[in-house]
């Protein structure tokens, strides 16, 4: 007896309810809309789905059992994570594992979040801060330390001091993504952003400014995973999941810093990371990557992902971002970096990297990049390119 046989897994469809600041929609409406869009994209029906994977849950989103009940799903493999954005990747990995091992044939990964009902992340109503030992983003409300952005700011301050950077260099991230947003009619922020405008942005949690924080928005997103064989029978070219690696945890890990940066419980010992996802996907390393998608809830995450996954050496990530490297036509073999996730905090984007856990760097799974991966023209391509 042994686990298996292992089937190969592909993404067969993706769909979104596009992000808006105030949708007027409930989380159930956002998740239903995303699921409908993803099923239509994959030419599958509600009754085809037998796996259900989600992060977040009530109240920001919907628990798996209420979704299954409300949508009339018949699920034989369900999983719901703890309610943070980092678990988007984990949820998709769980779906891939389930399909690979035959616990599900058609796994839907769904998220739909309504932030506008709350309007604020952090503060006295934020339960993260109630956790003994501090919140997962470093929250410690007795000392005023609150909000996920607080932890990101604390780590970024240390990083810049350790490696000798002016913190305002992080402007390269929102500047790049705003340029991309201007090519996307659905993007929420489209006004020009350059260095001068960035420096006028109010500081929210110093050294980070408003443009460094993901917007609190409402949206829904879903992707559909199935076997590669099944996906080949569906209308779109399958997007194969070629490699994965898991979520790290430990004293040396902090969600918004590379290991060994030396904040919170971390040691001060940086190291070259072993990232087996590349080899599993048949790639030699970051040089083979065309496009990188990641969860940049806060601007510094982009620098830290670059270092963690070998796009930049230790301490060089912030420099690596400069001079348009992550813009369209920049250094990643002409492909963009990370722009897709700037629009949201907890995201319906279903894959891409978190700062420590790419599923497969060679391809993009966030729904709005799915057409890009298939080679369809998207609004982000400038005419004539």
């Amino acid at each position: 007896m042994s686990l298996g046989p292992i089937r190969q897994v592909a993404v067969a469809g993706a769909g979104m309810v596009p992000p808006t600041r105030r949708s007027g929609k409930t989380p159930l409406q956002l998740t239903a809309g995303a699921l409908r869009a993803a099923l239509d994209d994959a030419a599958l029906t509600r009754d085809d789905a037998d796996g259900l994977f989600t992060n977040v849950g009530f109240p920001l989103s919907v628990d798996y059992d209420r979704m299954a009940e409300a949508f009339g799903l018949s699920v034989r493999c369900a999983m719901q994570t703890w309610n943070h954005g980092r678990f988007v990747g984990t949820a998709v990995q769980a779906a891939a594992n389930a399909v690979a091992l035959g616990l599900a044939e058609v796994a839907v990964c769904i998220g739909g979040v309504n932030f506008s009902q709350f309007g604020l992340v952090g503060g006295a109503l934020d339960i993260e801060g109630l956790r003994q030992g501090g919140g997962t983003h470093g929250e410690f409300p007795a000392y005023g330390m609150t909000a996920p952005g607080g932890g990101a700011a604390m780590a970024f301050q240390k990083y810049c001091a350790r490696y000798g950077y002016d913190t305002d260099l992080i402007s390269a991230v929102p500047i790049a993504f705003r340029k991309h947003a201007q090519l996307n009619p659905g993007a929420q922020l489209q006004k020009p952003l350059d260095q001068d405008i960035y420096l006028q942005e109010p500081r929210v949690i110093d050294p980070l400014r408003r443009a460094d924080f993901a917007l609190l928005s409402d949206a829904g997103g879903a992707i559909i995973l199935t076997t590669l064989d099944r996906a080949r029978d569906l209308p779109h070219p399958p997007v194969v999941i070629g490699g994965m690696q898991g979520l790290h945890a430990g004293k040396d890990e902090f969600i918004f810093a590379p290991p060994g940066l030396g904040v919170f419980s971390q040691s001060e010992q940086r190291r070259v990371e072993n990232n087996p996802v590349y080899e599993m996907a048949g790639l030699s390393g970051p040089g083979d990557i065309d496009t990188l998608a990641l969860y940049d809830a806060f601007s510094p995450n982009v620098a830290f992902v670059a270092e963690r996954f070998g796009f930049a050496k230790e301490g060089e990530g912030l420099g690596w971002l400069q001079d348009g490297r992550i813009e369209l036509g920049g250094g990643l073999r002409g492909g963009p970096v990370g722009h897709v996730v700037r629009r949201l905090h907890h995201l319906p984007h279903r894959q891409g990297l978190t700062h420590d856990r790419p599923a497969d760097l060679h391809r993009l799974d966030p729904p709005e990049t799915h057409p890009l991966q298939r080679g369809h023209p998207t609004p982000r391509r400038r005419p004539g390119r």
Partner: protein, 108 residues
């Protein structure tokens, strides 16, 4: 601060086992309360009703090893690496919070 009697190191946050060696023979010791600023942020958004903004939160690296999230008492913005020492702020009966700032000149 909690301290492991097996390996001798202090650790934070507190817990029932030593994170270094996973043993459970612990005690609590009085830390000298000296260290340096490891990092800091300045919060401008009024997350908590009644708090005056902006305010500073620092992370102190104690000389004994652990890092603490705490409040800043210095007259200017902190500099990473600057020496600090603890004082205590009584906020209610039996409840005190730490705060850290530059040592007074006559004690440096």
């Amino acid at each position: 601060m909690p301290r492991c009697r097996t390996c001798g190191s202090e650790f934070w946050p507190a817990g029932p086992v030593c994170p270094r060696d996973f043993t459970a023979d612990l005690d609590w010791v009085t830390d000298p309360g000296t260290g340096v600023v490891n990092s800091w942020v300045q919060i401008h958004k009024p997350y908590f009703a009644g708090d005056e903004v902006p305010y500073v939160v620092i992370q102190v690296q104690l000389d004994t090893g652990p890092r603490l999230t705490t409040s800043w008492t210095g007259p200017q913005l902190p500099r990473i690496g600057e020496p600090v020492e603890v004082s205590f702020r009584q906020i209610a009966d039996g409840i005190a919070l730490t705060e850290f700032g530059p040592p007074p000149p006559d004690q440096s």
